[in-house]
């Protein structure tokens, strides 16, 4: 079990065993009563939408950090209202931590533990952001330029 190195949630740690997306949706979501699922890069995260409420943990796997499908998966599940833990697992690198967070990740379990100082810098790197992803709760630069 890879350890969660960074977690930005106040609730109890979730350690339910994650099933695959295929297993979770099988038999019209009736095959398993799992509360955790693991999304692989090729999975269509939208398949989870009908039973999102059931989930307490979504792991998004990055076999290679250069495959960015997990960013879209995480963000669209957040857009759909998922509030449980969204955990990035696998080849999670320092330089992408802030961007992962902006797409809705709030827990990080890298295969290889990251230098904590470098990681801290990476999370704090961007005081401002150009886009509203909405799911990170941050105000975009354009919104700051034009306060309502």
């Amino acid at each position: 079990m890879v350890e969660v190195q960074f977690r930005f949630r106040d609730d109890e740690a979730v350690n339910d065993a994650a099933v695959t997306v295929d297993a979770f949706v099988a038999e019209d979501f009736a095959q398993t009563n799992a509360t955790a699922v693991r999304i692989e890069p090729g999975d269509d995260a939208r398949a989870l939408l009908p039973q999102l409420d059931r989930l307490a943990l979504i792991e998004v796997n990055f076999p290679a950090w250069t495959d960015g499908r997990g960013y879209s998966s995480a963000r669209l599940l957040r857009e759909a209202g998922y509030t449980g833990e969204m955990r990035a697992v696998g080849d999670v690198v320092i330089d992408m931590l802030g961007h992962l967070q902006r797409c809705g990740f709030d827990a990080f379990a890298p295969d290889k533990a990251l230098n904590p100082d470098d990681a801290k810098n990476a999370f704090a790197r961007w005081d401002n952001v150009y886009q509203a992803t909405v799911v990170d709760g941050r105000q975009a630069i354009w919104a700051k330029r034009h306060p309502a």
Binding site: D67, G68, R69, H99, R102, D127, T133, V134, I141, R145
Partner: protein
């Protein structure tokens, strides 16, 4: 033109700090080359044949004289006294040192420049019409929309590790000067029947090993949904774009494999969903940006005539200038293609001279064109002779825009680690073969484009005459093709037949021009004659 506010400045400054930190970790060994490579690429730093190469972004090809001057100074201070202007309206330096790169970026940031996303599998620098804001035929200045997209695409967290690179182009006139439909997304700003401005989207174009012309995917996106629609296009691409084969990872393959209609259906579905998310900047933001692109203070009633008594100047005016929307002004294109020269290269001194001319005679504005030339967009006609004189003395007064001498060529095997053959020596030989003004005048418009490998950075697919360098058992070999175009009449060039060695392809080009001259009717350009008579007469002359 656009001026950074404190936020924009902070973004580039933060990037400098981030990259400085990445370089530190690389040099200390904390990052291996495999880990560092995607990071340095996202900042435009390549490893080429002889050294690191740094590509600096020139957003939508527009820059002011202070920026241009600094580009010259960087060439002197950190490189070997010259820079290379690229087909994506950027500039690159060929002899960069890794440990100096953070300092270069810090200097660039002082003049609101950067190298953000000039490489890597992310949204690249947004390209545009080099005559934007000056052309007599434009619907509206496309650059405010390009600037909106620049900000949206900079560090967009969802789209930093796409299947492959992603190039967006924005134009706003019927005449396409930016090869819009050969981009991953092409956007044409239009006015609809109700008189409203909106964006027409094209997706899935590109050159490379599988050239495709982008189909239209939406005829009108309202201005207050522009970013949301772009986001939908990217999300569908990120979800489905192939990751198993880098040669099939561009959006053109996705659009082709899904079919245009299915891609459109998915984008519209995602778009409908994203419209429920408050991600679109307000119109006030667009208006803020537009204010930066207001017309310069043109003099009304400026004299509209030119003294063309100097025959060399007359030729340059005929070849290198374009009508301006303002009476008394003209758009001047500086050719970086002197006879026998290296296409797109300029010395530090030449760069600084162009900066000064931009400052003194073009309302402090310059443009980089996808044909690797530089534009002074707003020259008063009364000043034009002075400008040309200064250019001519500096060796960049060549009168050859859009002629056979105005060759687009990638750096090729002289610099590029991907190339299979050299491009530049071939461009030099061709420009020498057709070097005389008489010959160029006789042949007229002929766009010749050379790529040193199948990635097609030299746009050979879109050349009236296109040349592709290949490696034939360790020997350079050149394939010839005819009939490409990047204009509103975009078409892809067709290969003539077996390839040639360097001298052979120069001869073949000459024979092709002879066939054209023998068959030309009226005002036909090479391309028109080719389209009318077809490949056979050319083939016969070349291989016969």
């Amino acid at each position: 033109m656009y001026k950074y506010d404190e936020y924009d400045q902070q973004m580039v400054d933060t990037r400098v700090a981030e990259f400085r930190d990445q370089v530190r970790r690389r040099i200390s060994g904390e990052l291996t080359e495999d880990q560092f490579k995607p990071l340095r690429l996202q900042n435009g730093l390549y490893l080429q044949l002889h050294a690191y190469m740094l590509r600096v972004a020139v957003p939508y090809g527009t820059l002011n004289s202070v920026q241009m001057r600094l580009l010259g100074d960087i060439a002197d201070k950190y490189d070997r006294g010259y820079g290379h202007f690229t087909t994506r309206q950027n500039i690159q330096y060929n002899w960069i040192k890794l440990d100096e790169t953070p300092d270069i970026l810090a200097e660039l940031a002082t003049v609101e420049m950067h190298a953000i996303q000039t490489s890597g599998n992310c949204i690249r620098n947004i390209s545009s019409d080099q005559f934007a804001g000056a052309a007599a035929d434009e619907v509206i200045d496309p650059r405010p929309y390009a600037e909106m997209l620049r900000q949206w695409s900079s560090f967009h967290p969802e789209f930093l590790v796409l299947p492959r690179k992603f190039k967006i182009c924005v134009i706003a006139s019927e005449k396409d000067r930016a090869a819009m439909r050969l981009h991953d997304i092409g956007i044409k700003m239009i006015r609809n029947d109700a008189g409203e401005i909106g964006a027409q989207f094209y997706a899935g174009g590109g050159m490379g090993r599988t050239p495709m012309i982008a189909p239209m995917i939406r005829d009108f996106v309202p201005l207050d949904q522009l970013i949301t629609f772009a986001e939908a296009c990217l999300r569908v691409y990120n979800r489905y774009g192939r990751r198993d084969n880098k040669y099939k990872a561009r959006i053109k393959i996705l659009v082709h494999e899904l079919g245009r209609d299915e891609y459109v259906r998915q984008v519209e579905e995602e778009f409908a969903h994203l419209l429920t998310q408050p991600i679109e900047p307000p119109m006030a933001e667009l208006e803020r940006i537009m204010a930066h692109f207001a017309n310069p203070a043109f003099e009304t009633g400026a004299a509209d005539d030119l003294d063309l008594s100097d025959p060399d100047f007359r030729l340059w005016v005929e070849r290198n200038t374009t009508a301006h929307k303002q009476a008394g002004y003209i758009i001047a294109t500086i050719s970086l293609k002197p006879v026998g020269g290296i296409p797109g290269d300029a010395t530090a001194d030449q760069i600084r001279l162009m900066a000064d001319l931009g400052r003194d005679y073009s309302f402090d504005e310059l443009r980089v064109t996808h044909s690797q030339n530089i534009v002074l967009p707003h020259v008063k006609k009364a000043d034009l002779y002075t400008v040309w004189k200064a250019l001519d003395e500096a060796g960049i007064g060549t009168a050859n825009i859009d002629t056979v001498g105005d060759i687009i060529a990638c750096p090729g095997l002289d610099y590029c680690s991907l190339a299979n053959a050299r491009s530049i020596p071939l461009a030099q030989k061709i420009s020498q073969r057709f070097g005389s003004a008489e010959k160029q005048a006789e042949i007229g418009e002929l766009k010749l484009k050379i790529s040193g490998c199948i990635n097609a950075c030299g746009h050979h697919h879109a050349g009236h005459i296109g040349i592709l360098g290949v490696d034939k058992k360790g020997v350079e070999n050149y394939q010839l093709s005819f009939g490409g175009s990047e204009g509103a009449d975009t078409s892809l060039a067709k290969i003539t037949g077996p390839g040639f060695d360097e001298d052979g392809v120069v001869d073949a080009v000459e024979k092709a021009t002879q066939v054209y001259l023998a068959n030309k009717q009226g005002e036909e350009r090479f391309l028109d004659t080719y389209r009318r008579i077809g490949m056979d007469p050319f083939k016969e002359a070349i291989y016969g």
